[in-house]
Amino acid sequence: MATVRIPKQKVILCGDYGVGKSSLFRRFTNNTFVTETDRKSTLGLDHIDREYDVGDKQIKLQLWDTGGMERVASVTSSYYKFAEGAILVFALDNAASFHSLSQHLLDIVTYAENAKIFICGNKSDLEGREPEVSDEEVEAFCEQCHSLISATYKTSCRSGAGVEEMFRDISRQLVHANRSKMELQALEQKSFKIDTACDPTINEEASSCSC
C-alpha cells in the first residue's frame, strides 16, 4: 500500500485581466505562445501539474489559472483556498496593472493566508520601449509589503525568457518553506477528496460480514 507520494503544491496566478496569466499558464503547460488572446485555446483547462526536482526532493507544482473570471467579476474566494503559493502577475508595459497588485495581494492574504507570494513582471520583451514600471518601483512595493513577498521575477511569455527559471525557483522556495509543515500535516486528521475510487460495493461486503 505504501506508495511514495510526491507532495503537491497548489500555486495560483493572480493579477489583472490581460497581463499574461493564461500565457504563463500555457508556457507552463506545453511551452507554447499564441499572440492574440485566444480564449478558446485555454477553454476547459483548469490546472496543470508538473514535477520539479529540488535537491534530493521531488515536488509537484500544480498551477491554477483564473478561467477569466476577473474580467468583469471577481475571482471566487474558493480559487484561493488550499493555495501554497501565489504569483502576482503584472505587465511591465502597463502601470495600472502594477498599481492594482495591492488589491490582489489583499485577496490573497484574506483567502490564502499561508500562501507564499511571488511577483512576476511579464512582457519583458519591450523591443526598445521603456517599461512603464521600473525596478525601483517594484522594490518599493515589496518594501511596503514588509516581508510578504518572497521573490520577484521578470518574464516574457512571447520569447519564453525567465519563465522556466521562475517556476524552478518557486518550487525550490516552496520545498524549503514546507519541509516542516508537511511533516506536521501528516499527523493531523485530514479532510479528503471524493472520487470514484471509493467503490461502495467493496464496503458493502465488508459491512455485511459484521452481522
Partner: protein, 443 residues
C-alpha cells in the same frame, strides 16, 4: 455585456451555478450575472463574522468570537449524502477537485426529549435503545428485507409489490410499531412529513438504501460537509462554467427581463445595457411576478461554544426531530458544524435549526431544536417564503428554480436542477460530455 448569448443565468446560488456549469459544458454561450457583490446568493457562506451581524442588523461582536475571518457561516444549512445526487454531479463534472470534505460524525434522532443514534444496520438495530427487544427483531428483519431488495428482481420483493402497495402496507407486513415507523420514515428515509405512507413503498426503500449506501462510503454518518462551508459549492460550479467559457458579472443590478413576441424572452436589461439571449435561468428573486408562495421556512443560526450533549462531544452532528415527537406535521432539523470545518474560530460551533413553518409563531415551533443546542451565545433567525415558478418556462423560455426547502440534504436541490435542465434543453444531462482528463485526478 452587449453581446448575444445562448443563455443568461441570474443569481449565483447553488442551483443556478450548477445549471451555468452544465450549460457551459454542453457548449452553450453563457452570461452569468448576480446583483450581489459576492458569489452564492442565498446559498452563500457569510464571512467575516462581522458581515453576518451586519446582515441581521446587529452591532459588530468585537473580540468575543475570535477572529472574524475565521468564520464562514452558511445561510442555508444542508449536508451532502455521500452517495447522493450532488456527489455524483460533483464527481462527473470534476468540481470535486476544488473541494475537500469531512464526514459528519454522528446522525441522531429525537425521541421522548432525548436523542439516540440512528440505527442503520442490523447490528446497530439490535443495540439501539430506541426500541424494545421484540421490536428490534422486527426492525432487523425489515432492514434485511431492504438490504436484499433489488428493484429489477421481483424474487427479492417477497410476495409484496412495492410499486403498487404503499409504505404503510410494508410496515404492517413487518409489524413495525408507530415509533419505529417514525424514525424509519424521517431519520432514515428523510421524509419531511407522513404523506409517504400512502405512496408506493419503493420510494421509501430507495431512500433507505441511499442512506445506508451513503453510510457505507465513508463511515460514521451518511453525510459529508465541505471545508470552508457550503458556499464553496456554488463557487466550484461557477469556476467550472468559467473554465468552459462562461462570462461572469457580479454587483450588476437587473432592471428588466425583456420579452419579445409571444412573451418569449429576448434579453436582460441592466441600466442602458441589454444583453440578448435565447433563454434565461434564474432564482425566484429575479422574477417576483412569475412565482407563487408555497409556505415558509424558518432557519435559526446559533453560535455555541460547546458540542451537543449526548453526542460524545462530536464536532459535527445531525439531529432529526420527527414531527410526531413534538406534535407537528413537519420535521425539525438540527445540524452542527465547527472550527474543524474551517467555518468557525477555534473552539466555536455553528448550530442550525430549521423547519417548515406551521403556525403564526415560528420561533416557538423550533424551540425543541434550540433546547438541544442550549446554551446559545448568539442567535440569527430568518423566516423566508418558499417560492415556486407558476409555469414550466416552455412558453417564455424563462426557467425558474424553486426556493431551498427545509430538508437537511441536497437531494431535492439536485432534482430541481436536473428537471430545469431538461425543461430548458430538452435533454437529460449527459455526464459523459465532460472531459475527464482536465488537469489531473487524484492518483
Amino acid at each position: 455585456m452587449n453581446e448575444e448569448y445562448d443563455a443568461i443565468v441570474l443569481g449565483t446560488g447553488l442551483k443556478e451555478c450548477i445549471l451555468s456549469g452544465m450549460l457551459s459544458v454542453s457548449g452553450k454561450k453563457v452570461l452569468h450575472i448576480d446583483r450581489n457583490k459576492y458569489y452564492g446568493g442565498e446559498s452563500a457562506s457569510i464571512t467575516p463574522l462581522e458581515e453576518l451581524f451586519q446582515r441581521y442588523g446587529l452591532e459588530p461582536p468585537g473580540e468575543r468570537f475570535g477572529r472574524g475571518r475565521d468564520w464562514n457561516v452558511d445561510l442555508i444549512p444542508k449536508f451532502l449524502m455521500a452517495n447522493g445526487q450532488l456527489v455524483k454531479l460533483l464527481i462527473h463534472t470534476g468540481v470535486t477537485r476544488y473541494l475537500e470534505f469531512k464526514s459528519i460524525e454522528g446522525s441522531y434522532v429525537y425521541k421522548g426529549g432525548k436523542i439516540a443514534k440512528v440505527p442503520v444496520d442490523q447490528k446497530e438495530a439490535l443495540a439501539s435503545d430506541l426500541m424494545g427487544m421484540f421490536e428490534k427483531r422486527r426492525f432487523r428483519n425489515f432492514l434485511i428485507y431492504v438490504q436484499d431488495f433489488r428493484e429489477d428482481d421481483p424474487k427479492t420483493w417477497k410476495d409484496f409489490d412495492p410499486t403498487k402497495a404503499n409504505m404503510q402496507g410494508l410496515y404492517d407486513k413487518f409489524g413495525l410499531d408507530k415509533n419505529t415507523q417514525d424514525f424509519t420514515g424521517h431519520a432514515l428515509a428523510l421524509f419531511r412529513d407522513d404523506e409517504y405512507l400512502n405512496e408506493p413503498a419503493v420510494n421509501t426503500i430507495r431512500r433507505i438504501k441511499l442512506y445506508s449506501d451513503s453510510l457505507a462510503r465513508y463511515g460514521k454518518s451518511p453525510y459529508l460537509y465541505p471545508m470552508y462551508g457550503l458556499g464553496e459549492l456554488p463557487q466550484g460550479f461557477a469556476r467550472l462554467s468559467a473554465i468552459y467559457g462562461g462570462t461572469y458579472m457580479l454587483d450588476k443590478p437587473i432592471d428588466e427581463i425583456v420579452l419579445g413576441e409571444g412573451g418569449k424572452v429576448v434579453g436582460v436589461r441592466s441600466g442602458e445595457e441589454v444583453a440578448k439571449c435565447k433563454q434565461v435561468y434564474c432564482d425566484p428573486s429575479y422574477v417576483v411576478e412569475k412565482v407563487r408562495k408555497r409556505g415558509k421556512v424558518i432557519r435559526c443560526i446559533c453560535i455555541l461554544d460547546h458540542p451537543v450533549a449526548s453526542t460524545k462531544d462530536g464536532l459535527s452532528t445531525q439531529i432529526i426531530i420527527p414531527q410526531k415527537q413534538v406534535g407537528r406535521k413537519s420535521d425539525i432539523y438540527v445540524s452542527l458544524v465547527s472550527s474543524t470545518h474551517q467555518v468557525a474560530a477555534k473552539g466555536w460551533f455553528v448550530g442550525m435549526v430549521s423547519t417548515t413553518v406551521e403556525t403564526e409563531n415560528p420561533e416557538v415551533e423550533i424551540k425543541p431544536g434550540l433546547d438541544l443546542l442550549e446554551p446559545i451565545a448568539q442567535k440569527f433567525v430568518t423566516i423566508s417564503d418558499y417560492l415556486e415558478p407558476i409555469d414550466d418556462g416552455s412558453q417564455s423560455q424563462i426557467f425558474i428554480s424553486e426556493s431551498y426547502d427545509a430538508t437537511t440534504h441536497f437531494e431535492t436541490t439536485c432534482l430541481d436542477v436536473l428537471n430545469i435542465f431538461k425543461r430548458g434543453t430538452g435533454e437529460t444531462f449527459d455526464f459523459s460530455k465532460i472531459k475527464h482528463e482536465l488537469g489531473d485526478e487524484e492518483q
